[in-house]
């Protein structure tokens, strides 16, 4: 069974909600990212998003842009990220979602990517600029290898688009909580509760909420009605503050523990 499905099943049995943090592969270098991944697992991450840096991250706000720039300067890339994941997999069974833009995958070769991602131990792929209209050039190859393609839904997605996405989605649904780039505006839990609850009526897939969750309290509010809180830019800001020092791994780990404590403290909806 795909590690993501297994993890959500296990969490549901325990009556728990998921923390899905985001890390850029190669910020500040791949060795540190590897340490961060393992520390994240120990600090309460249930699933981890690993960002493949891209030169033109049009959906990302300043924090993730900067992180991607640093990773690229440090020599990170899609193949290097896959190598790091394969390395992590020798000691960890943490479910991993590869996050990124389509061009590096397209250039790598779709079939080759699906095969290498599967053998590295990637469980799902989220490609920001591959909407349902274009996803057929990647999704079947991933699915053949047992890898989920994670679809995004947004406040702008109408009912027809929701249905279109639900027909193809697997793994979990990622609801983008604000119109904007990553990390730009704080999530407004009250305004998205109804949307998430309406999605709940249409699918059995777990629903994660992301874009704009930056504090343990916000994470707690979101998981009152969602199955997972995705946190990216806020982690980048912590790592930005301590980048290049010995503190980066413990500080990120400590922030993740606080997020996970927030999630555990939420009343179960």
């Amino acid at each position: 069974m795909n590690r993501i499905d297994a993890r959500f099943r296990e969490l549901a049995r325990r009556g728990e909600k998921a923390l899905i943090p985001f890390l850029t592969a190669g910020d500040p270098d791949l060795a540190t990212t590897r340490e961060l991944v393992l520390a994240a697992e120990d600090s309460g991450a249930d699933i981890l998003e690993i960002g493949v840096p891209f030169s033109d991250p049009t959906s990302d706000g300043p924090a993730i842009q900067r992180s991607a720039e640093i990773a690229l300067e440090a020599g990170s890339s899609l193949p290097r990220a896959l190598e790091m994941i394969a390395d992590v997999r020798t000691t960890s069974q943490l479910p991993l979602v590869l996050y990124g833009y389509y061009n590096p995958i397209f250039r790598y070769g779709v079939e080759r990517f699906a095969a290498d991602a599967a053998s590295a131990g990637v469980d799902a792929v989220l490609v920001v600029d591959l909407p349902p209209e274009e996803v057929d050039e990647l999704l079947p190859s991933l699915r053949a290898k047992g890898i989920h393609f994670i679809f995004l839904l947004a406040p702008t997605s109408d009912e027809a688009r929701v249905r279109k996405v639900l027909r193809r989605a697997s793994g979990f649904l990622y609801y983008v909580s604000v119109t904007g780039v990553t990390g730009a505006a704080p999530v407004q839990p009250a305004s998205i509760r109804a949307v998430v609850e309406s999605l709940r009526g249409q699918t059995d897939l777990p629903i994660g909420v992301g874009f704009g969750i930056s504090s343990p309290r916000q994470a707690a509010e979101v998981v009152e009605f969602a199955d997972a809180a995705v946190v990216g830019s806020a982690i980048m800001r912590v790592s930005d503050e301590h980048r290049g020092t010995q503190r980066v791994v413990p500080e990120v780990a400590s922030f993740l523990r606080r997020l996970k404590d927030g999630i555990r403290s939420a009343p179960q909806g």
Binding site: S55, L78, E134, T179
Partner: protein
Amino acid sequence: MPSMPDRRGHFGVFGGRYIAELLMPAVLELEDAYKKVRRDRSFQAELRDHLKQYVGRETPLYFARRLSEKLKGARVYLKREDLCHTGSHKINNALGQVLLAQRMGKERIIAETGAGQHGVATATVTALFGLECQVYMGSEDVQRQALNVFRMKLMGAGVQPVESGSKTLKDAINEALRDWVTNVRNTYYLVGSTMSAHPYPMMVRDFQSVIGREARRQILRIEGRLPDCLVACVGGGSNAMGLFYPFIQDPVRLIGVEAGGSGLETGQHSASISAGHVGVLHGKKTFVLQDELGQVRPAHSISAGLDYPGVGPEHAYLHSTGRAEYVAVTDDEAVAGLQLLSETEGIIPALETAHAIAHVARIAPEMSPEQIIVVNLSGRGDKDMGTLAAHLGVSLSS
């Protein structure tokens, strides 16, 4: 040749809609709105009226006698888009899209610009219709094209310098997309070239096709026959598509001229078709300057308007089918082309346009006086005098 693009916005394997889910509904809404106005007589009449009364169309198809004599070959005609209000062809598209934005009830317009010609055209039409306008421009281009920045601000537009990446057009587009994703509900993104996600490449081509429709009618009237060859510079490719498209079924050679920068062998250029690889950037699949890992490489050109590491997907398609040819002209050759036209005709072209002139100077001498070349004189050179003087080592402040 089948009509392009297909229903999903693909030109063969190129084009498409490679954008965030957040933007998909906006792009679908735009496609819907554009389909309606495309067949709407009152919209088309309003557009025609503004093109005539405000832009000053039709533009002349001018026989460049002294240039033709100097080149001792084909007869060269210039389609004088430099005579459009604001000094370039960009206004044809800006006007069409702003009329559409109004019909869609959008009150805020955003745009990206490289050389500033599209920014100026957008600032112009938003002033004309009293709409809020925000232009994104790479900070390097803000310096290179200070005069155009001043013009935009005079007309009430906000100009936001973009400091990320290579600080040029590609980064301005990134920032415009980030603005759009944030303000998608009330904001119209007025894309300046045959780029981005469907329906933009088709729509911009359609709005610019007025160039080719006029030129075709004019050359038939003047010469009684079709030209042998069309030449236009290609950055994103809107002036070239606008000229080419109405001739696409005709037995006419189509030549797009890319910016060869310091030379293709140096890697410092903007020639996406001549030296790029197929990839996905800014909503479309096309030729992209990139490394073997799929990271986009900064482009280089003396002309800010061609300084982009991708190209419109329809050009990628025309190249792949062989219907159009694409060549590259270096910075130095373009400057020589600018000087040639200035000296022979008293017309100072934009540095972008000068690339097309430079290629005409190569091919016209090999053709006979019975043969005809039509060049798209897409813009005037006033904005480039600072850049040109610096390139030639001339000081303007004495």
